[in-house]
Amino acid sequence: MEDSDGSVGNIGMVCLGGPNRIDGASKTCINASKLGAEVRYILEGEGHEWSFDQGGIEWSKELGPAHWLVNCSSTPLMSENAMGAWSASMTFAELEGTKTVMVIDSPEGDSEFGSSWGLVIERIRQIHLIFVHPNALRAISAAEGIPTSDLLEEIRSRSLVPIVCTYNSISGSVIEHALGRICATSNSGIEPLQWLAGLLCHLPKVGSGITGLEEAAMVAGRKKWAGLK
């Protein structure tokens, strides 16, 4: 349940998004922050670039008590350091017990998308929740040779990632999980990454069982929850 003031509170997220905050991980965390989540950005402030010293990040300290580490598939293509930090973040999250969320960004170029999806596959066992942006569905479907309709289920059953989901503002959300599938329609008109932020904020509160997941998916699709008028 959300708090009386409508904010989620007490939900911690660590974001390894870009300094310009235009990638999927950053956008998700900005939305979550609006909902009241405590977000810590690894790359803070303007002027920061992708050429940071990834060896200087103290991951145990940064991850602290956070529920989620939010990463996206485009990060490792930005620079060698970004790639190193991206890899290290997921290993430390695994060690610290923070669950990793991977936002599969919409593709900018076919070859780049292939590389980033390949890197995600290499790390797939460290990921707890994959969110496939609706624009990326077709690209993955083509890369894997799997029809779009079966894609999420196939990704889940092949990789055993606990939750694989997507959302679009017309047809609603689809969540594939270890015990089946949850579909929830929504006509709230919220954006996919707003929905994801809502899901991440709500899930730790309701528990990660089927009923909790259903509730989190439903609440995440509400206008009010997403902070829209």
């Binding site: 007490n10 939900i11 066992r125 707890h128 939750i163 999980h177 069982g209």
Partner: protein, 375 residues
């Protein structure tokens, strides 16, 4: 006994991403095997680094292996089977170039078959075709000149075809099925994925005796002494693998396996690949536990030898001496407990919790853990 350990893929801590860079890192970590993942289509540009990896493994004692496509439908209809076989063909071509000692393949869902001998026969037929194809790809020794760049093709045996146990009830690949097929098809080897076996057997691998039973079953059915295993922590439910976890977080422990290998594994030639989310970290964890188990065994043996020698010197039965030693140890322990009992009471405060997670005001996933927890 030969035991090789390594990760499934390039180590997570490796700065570079090529296979050769991964091999360097694995060697530095004191490990000696790697399983290359060909889960996606292999591009021609990958072959150059595969060949470099092959040369490196040929010149060193490093064991290379290859994992075929994750998704297979060998028991499906003709179209599904051919699609799987064409993916497998790519893996075995790459296996040749990389000097793979084992090529691991899944079979996939039962498809049109019921579990039983008909399905097993079909798998055996397909796998014997795969073994033939591996030998064909490996080439004839007369063509030695053509293979100057691939010395292992003439001096090593072709890769063994590994058939992996599956972790879900609807997939072909119980231990019995895999062993039966491997027993009938020469050139194949069972790939015992311990996480899958544990999950499918409703948590059957708990003690070293459970491992002894598993390998006895393998020895009786399959007969060989070469084994290829995968090990990872696993979350399971109703006989199905839910997802992979690091070893420390799973009810599948490595210690009993290490104990079994140290005590009874002398007859085995075994490779263990860590496919946990903490690839090389867990491979090293396994190495440490195996070394500890070996050390403990050596200590026990040394103590037994010493006892026998002392008993002979004193002219008494070694068993009698052992009994006396146990009595003396118990008396010592009782005396020590009497001394430390008081302070123990005094410090009986609740154990300190990890400041990062437990003392936080934040809600924890663990607080309201459901019966059907997806994680």
């Amino acid at each position: 006994m030969s035991l090789k350990l390594g990760p499934a893929g390039v180590p997570l801590s490796c700065k570079g991403r090529t296979i050769v860079e991964g091999m360097d890192d694995i060697t530095v970590l004191g490990l000696d095997a790697m399983e290359v993942q060909t889960v996606r289509t292999i591009q021609p540009q990958h072959f150059d680094q595969y060949w470099q990896a092959g040369i490196l493994s040929w010149k060193s004692e490093f064991e290379m292996n290859m994992h075929g496509p994750y998704y297979a439908e060998l028991l499906g209809n003709k179209r599904e089977r051919n699609r799987t076989l064409s993916k497998m063909e790519t893996s075995l071509q790459a296996g040749k170039i990389v000097n793979a000692r084992h090529l691991t393949f899944h079979v996939g869902p039962y498809g049109e078959f019921e579990p039983g001998s008909a399905a097993n026969e079909q798998v055996a037929n397909i796998m014997s075709g795969v073994v033939e194809r591996v030998e064909e790809v490996w080439g004839e020794s007369e063509n030695e000149e053509d293979y100057a760049a691939f010395p292992w093709l003439t001096e090593e045996k072709p890769s063994l075809v590994g058939i992996e146990t599956s972790g879900r009830q609807e997939l072909w690949g119980t231990v019995e099925e895999v062993l039966e097929v491997c027993n009938h098809v020469e050139g194949t080897v069972p790939v015992l994925n311990m996480g899958h076996i544990h999950a499918r057997g409703f948590g059957r691998l708990r003690t070293s005796e459970d491992y002894a039973e598993l390998f006895d079953q393998a020895r009786e059915t399959y007969g060989g002494s070469t084994f290829y295993c995968h090990f990872s922590g696993v979350e399971h439910r109703m006989g199905n693998t839910m997802h992979y976890t690091q070893i420390k977080k799973s009810d599948l422990k490595f210690e009993p396996f290490a104990e079994f290998l140290a005590e009874e594994g002398d007859w085995m030639d075994i490779t263990i690949i860590s496919d946990s989310p903490l690839l090389e970290h867990d491979a090293m964890y396994m190495r440490q536990h195996y070394d500890k188990a070996r050390q403990r065994l050596l200590e026990i043996r040394a103590r037994d030898e010493r006892r026998e020698k002392l008993a002979a010197e004193q002219g008494i039965d070694p068993e009698e001496l052992k009994k006396k030693e146990i009595e003396a140890a118990e008396a010592r322990k009782a005396q020590q407990e009497g001394v430390v009992e008081a302070p123990k009471e005094a410090i009986k405060a609740p154990a300190a919790q990890s400041p990062s997670k437990k003392n936080s005001k934040m809600i924890s996933f663990e607080d309201g853990k459901d019966e059907d927890d997806i994680f």
